[in-house]
């Protein structure tokens, strides 16, 4: 096997290894997010989406190599003219075997292959023909077609974060005693704690005048009686 063939094999193995690695990584990526859900990381709401996860990376095409061959002599044939004076012309042992007779001669370097040639005495020589075969020195290596990357569609559900009601810390306001309502205290205009006795005074005065008048009248009457 040639060095080219070995290089192609290495490339193929590397591509397969990379594909396997990608599959493993994708599997981890698909499996692991469940565990992260329990993390204390803050929840980020997100709409649903589809993710194309690479399963097998693209494998590029490799060109083939043609077989390396050479033409090797197989059998020498001798021309049998059957009385004809002309040479074989286009006649070959393949298409005109009646005029050709196989012989046992070994090939000598320089003899033409696949064509009639004349050997012996020039101008009166015999005609010969070496039939040939193709000998494969290096078999052909077929090329490999491009293998496209394989992706898997992974659907991600929408992430809806629980509504967290953030209650701000209750800062208790300082306890301030409510201002007492202003009490009403109306000072009176006067504190009148003795009843009005004017009427009594007027009455006593009137009685005094009445007594004085009566006594005066009585005196006058008494004086007139004496007179």
């Amino acid at each position: 096997m040639s060095s080219d063939n070995r290089g192609a094999g290495v490339l193929r193995k590397a591509a397969y290894a990379a594909g396997a690695m990608s599959l493993a990584v994708a599997g981890i990526l698909i499996t692991v997010p469940g565990a992260s859900a329990d993390d204390a990381a803050p929840c980020t709401p997100m709409a649903a989406y589809d993710e194309q996860v690479l399963v097998t990376p693209e494998v590029p095409a490799t060109p083939g190599t043609p077989a390396v061959t050479h033409t090797a002599p197989v059998q020498r044939w001798s021309w049998n003219p059957h009385g004809e004076q002309d040479g074989p012309g286009d006649s070959t042992p393949i298409n005109d075997p009646d005029h050709w007779t196989a012989n046992t001669e070994h090939y000598k370097d320089g003899e033409p292959l696949g064509e009639a040639y004349q050997a012996g005495t020039p101008g009166n020589g015999d005609w010969f023909y070496w039939t040939t075969e193709e000998v494969i020195d290096t078999p052909a290596v077929p090329g490999t077609p491009e293998i496209p990357a394989v992706y898997q569609t992974v659907h991600h559900d929408a992430v809806t974060c629980p509504v967290t009601v953030v209650t701000p810390p209750v800062v208790a306001p300082p306890v301030v005693a409510p201002a007492p309502e202003p009490e009403t205290h109306t000072v009176p205009a006067t504190v009148q704690t003795d009843a009005d006795q004017t009427a009594v005074l007027v009455l006593s005065g009137g009685l005094g005048l009445l007594a004085a008048g009566a006594l005066t009248g009585a005196g006058l009457l008494a004086r007139s009686r004496r007179n």
Binding site: T184, Q192, A195, Q197, V200, G206, L210, A218
Partner: protein
């Protein structure tokens, strides 16, 4: 004819003499009543229905306040009630003993109690209950004489001296009665009526307010010995007291 006329004149003279003597005697009596309050005339409207609870029991001790005090008196509390009776004790003997009703200023702004009752000047115009902790004093007023010149419930307020005791009886909001004891802080003082109200925030602040929240009381009446104008005395008797129980 002359005899009949003489006899008629004699009878008329006798009748006039009798009328004159009666009228003169009545005038003298009335005048005396208004000027000296007629010591022989009984009090007109002594309280007849003292509350059944919290009887004030005079003691033989010369100082009733001292006799009721305890070595470690409990902190005084406001009383959820209204005063319904007042008694002023002098050496254990009731000097004043009257029912109390709540009063307000009349249309002229005068604080004039009802005859026969002591008046507690209370809410809404004076929002201090006597005995409650306040910057203002509780105010209770009473007449000294009636319009007929007879004694009224606070007739003897001018006789109150420092150290005498005042006992207020309260009708509690929760029902029942309670009493609070006060000690008179100074002898009764006669002050001009006009000044005690006109200078209520200055000279006579001590009558109406306290320098710090206290459980204090002021009793008012009129000073009959002061000159009179328009039938009214020009001075008030003031008695101040501090709650002790």
């Amino acid at each position: 004819m002359n005899d009949r006329a003489t006899a008629r004149r004699r009878r008329l003279a006798v009748a006039l003499l009798v009328v004159g003597l009666l009228a003169g005697a009545a005038a003298v009596l009335l005048w005396s009543a208004t000027r000296s309050a007629l010591g022989g005339v009984p009090m007109s409207t002594a309280p007849v229905s003292a509350p059944t609870a919290a009887p004030v029991t005079p003691t033989d001790s010369p100082d009733p306040v001292t006799s009721t005090a305890t070595p470690t008196p409990a902190p005084l509390q406001d009383i959820a009630g209204i005063p319904v009776h007042v008694t002023v004790l002098q050496q254990g003997v009731p000097l004043i003993d009257a029912d109390v009703n709540q009063i307000q200023l009349n249309g002229d702004g005068w604080l004039s109690p009802d005859e026969g009752l002591a008046g507690w000047y209370g809410p809404p115009q004076w929002e201090t209950v006597p005995g409650d902790l306040s910057d203002y004093r509780g105010i209770i007023v009473g007449h000294n004489v009636t319009g007929y010149g007879t004694k009224d419930v606070f007739y003897d307020l001018g006789q109150v001296r420092a150290g005498d005791s005042v006992v207020l009886t309260y009708a509690l909001q929760a029902g029942g009665f309670a009493t609070a004891g006060f000690t008179v802080t100074q002898d009764a003082r006669s002050v001009p009526k006009q000044d005690v109200v006109a200078q209520a925030a200055t000279t006579y602040k001590w009558v109406w307010q306290s320098d710090a929240p206290e459980r204090a009381l002021s009793l008012f009446s009129c000073d009959l010995d002061a000159p009179h104008i328009d039938g009214h005395s020009v001075d008030n008797w003031i008695v101040t007291a501090e709650r002790v129980s």
